[in-house]
């Protein structure tokens, strides 16, 4: 028995009976109440899509990606018909479940997981230790839930699982492909779009004789599509994922949650953790309405950006920003200031190390594309201040920065 989910991007997404059983569990249904982009809807009003549809979309994309590779290069993977069915099932389940451990509002407040853990640790725990694991083991064989979990969180160990994990979590993986087009669709931003079908059809695999592994490479004809993909990701990072207001709202949300959570962290027990979703946080915000912390979020009394570096500060500027942080904290007081650095953001932008097949030779992508060469890693750093002191902080930071710049001789 199969079930179709209607999807605005792909038409219909078909799941099988086992996948449907997993979707029907409380762990997966919870994803309906986890906003995909955290507090971004307070900046882009239509950013209200959830991890539920992204998880289904990721399953759809990995299925298409595998179909495309198997159609053209089955012999490189060395899989028989039974292997194909087995690995496809594992890949689809890993894609479906890859975000199941997300906390309320997705990446906002990730630092509140206990013991240095992150949402991937919770994803792993939910897949392996709940009824989801039992369903997978019954369907794919004893212990396979562990392999699915490892693929889902990028910790796969054997060569086929590592390959599937790359198809899911890698630079051109199903996760990235779906969230880019889904986010841009829901936000209404045109620059997040790219030719997804062409991308799926121009990715290839090659065998690495040295380690017996397989890795993704690109057909020459796919260079322009990949440029479109990387450009989309670049702009989405700058304008959406690292948007100045969204980042400070995430920060305020984290501060609020830290205060209301027992011991300031999410529960270690996944059975308790799953009660934490956006609805629960909204109800807590409503209960605390009127408090300073809630006003920052709901009444737009959030801290304002007082200073930011350019998109690509060099290491001297990074060091200078470190210095500036200490000075600003000392002058204005730690409580009235917040800092944010792109390097610590949940999404990051860098050039993928993929090779392109050109006339029987493998060439790094950046050597084939001046556009890829020119897209630099984003490292922007920011200072935020309480609304009342924003102008003073701005002046202080700008003066410090200009003075240091002129001493360096590049002012």
């Amino acid at each position: 028995m199969y079930k179709d989910y209607r999807d605005p991007l792909y038409g219909f997404i078909t799941v099988n009976e086992v996948e449907q059983q997993i979707i029907d569990t409380c762990y997966f249904q919870r994803l309906r109440n986890i906003n995909q982009l955290g507090t971004t809807f307070l900046v882009y009003p239509s950013a209200v899509h959830t991890r539920f549809e992204h998880s289904l979309g990721t399953l759809y994309i990995i299925d298409k990606l595998l179909d495309s590779l198997l159609l053209r290069q089955k012999e490189i993977l060395g899989w028989g018909m039974d292997d194909i069915e087995h690995y496809k099932s594992m890949a689809r389940l890993a894609a479906l479940l890859h975000d199941i451990g997300h906390a309320p509002f997705s990446h906002a407040a990730e630092e509140l997981f206990p013991n240095g853990m992150d949402h991937e640790d919770y994803t792993y725990a939910i897949i392996t230790s709940t009824e989801i694991g039992q369903i997978i083991d019954k369907y794919l064989g004893e212990g396979k839930s562990t392999t699915v979990a490892e693929i889902a969180v990028g910790r796969a160990k054997d060569k086929n699982a590592i390959f599937l994990s790359e198809l899911l979590t890698g630079d051109f993986g199903a996760d990235r492909i779906d969230y880019l087009i889904r986010d841009s669709y829901h936000l209404g931003v045109e620059y997040g779009r790219f030719d997804v079908h062409r991308l799926l059809n121009t990715l290839l695999v090659r065998k690495n004789e040295e380690n017996d592994g397989v890795e993704l490479v690109l057909e020459e004809g796919g260079i322009h599509t990949v440029e479109g993909f990387l450009l989309a990701r670049y702009f989405m990072f700058l304008d959406v994922y690292y948007h100045k207001t969204r980042r400070i709202l995430d920060c305020h949300l984290g501060e609020f949650l830290k205060k209301v959570l027992d011991e300031g962290t999410y529960p270690l027990d996944v059975e308790k953790f799953i009660y934490w979703d956006d609805h629960k946080v909204w109800s807590l915000l409503a209960e605390n309405k009127g408090s300073e912390q809630v006003s920052r979020l709901l009444d737009r009394k959030h801290f304002r950006m007082a200073f930011e570096t350019n998109d690509h500060p060099d290491y001297v500027e990074l060091e200078r920003f470190d210095w500036l942080k200490d000075l600003v904290k000392n002058k204005f007081g730690e409580e009235r200031i917040r800092f944010d650095e792109a390097a610590k953001a949940p999404y990051s932008y860098e050039r993928p190390p993929i090779f392109v097949l050109i006339q029987d030779k493998y060439v790094p992508l950046k050597d084939c594309s001046s556009l890829v060469r020119s897209l630099k890693k984003i490292e922007k750093c920011r200072v935020y201040a309480e609304p009342g002191i924003r102008d003073d902080v701005k002046l202080f930071c700008n003066n410090f920065w200009k003075e240091r710049q002129s001493r360096r001789g590049d002012g």
Binding site: G154, R155, A156, K157, D158, K159, I162, N208, E210, N211, D212, G213, E215, H312, D314, Y315, V316, L318, E319, D322, A343, S348, E350, R351, P353, F355, K361, Y362, V363, P364, D367, K376, K377, E379
Partner: protein, 179 residues
């Protein structure tokens, strides 16, 4: 100083010291050197390693390489074989060297001597063996009697390696006090 800046300095120093020693630093060598620096020599650089085709691999290290290339401290070029990347010092590399202290420089220099002459396959075997030793609890408690578990663990992950290669790796790592 922030870990991030120390990391950038440490990468720059590795490529710089490699050049001084007449070594071309490849991406795999760099990945494994930093793996051992962090997990063998306990210098916390904040990198998160996961198993990949050539053993433990860290995506953030690749991102840091991108950054250092952007600021003209080094260049990352495809290796002539068409597999993997080699890294070369560029004009601004020397200005980054002060971001890393002498203790770390010494460890890097020693690890370069230890790793740089080894082929990719051996680097993969050494790092994966170390990774498995760390994962297996009983190895920490009783290294002598848990050898077989380590061998089985490595071969399950990397079937193309041989038992002899894994045993040899364990011996090398033990002599070097990395396990």
């Amino acid at each position: 100083m922030e870990k991030r800046l120390i990391r950038l300095g440490a990468i720059a120093y590795t490529v710089y010291a490699g050049k001084q020693k007449g070594i071309t630093v490849g991406h795999t060598l760099l990945q494994k050197l930093f793996y051992f620096l962090q997990h063998g020599r306990d210098i916390d650089l904040g990198y998160r390693y996961r198993l990949h085709h050539f053993g433990p691999y860290c995506k953030e290290l690749w991102a840091d390489l991108n950054y250092l290339e952007d600021v003209n401290a080094l260049s990352v070029k495809g290796s002539p074989s068409g597999f993997g990347y080699n890294i070369f010092p560029e004009a601004k590399i020397e200005t980054l060297l002060e971001l890393v202290n002498d203790e770390i420089k010494e460890e890097i220099s020693e690890l370069l001597n230890f790793l740089s002459h080894r082929p990719v396959r051996e680097l993969e075997c050494l790092a994966t063996t170390h990774y498995v030793c760390k994962e297996i609890q009983e190895f920490k408690e009783d290294p002598e009697n848990s050898k077989n578990n380590v061998i089985n663990g490595v071969l399950a992950l990397k079937p193309h390696l041989t038992e002899k290669e894994v045993l040899n790796s364990m011996e090398i790592l033990r002599k070097k006090c990395l396990i």
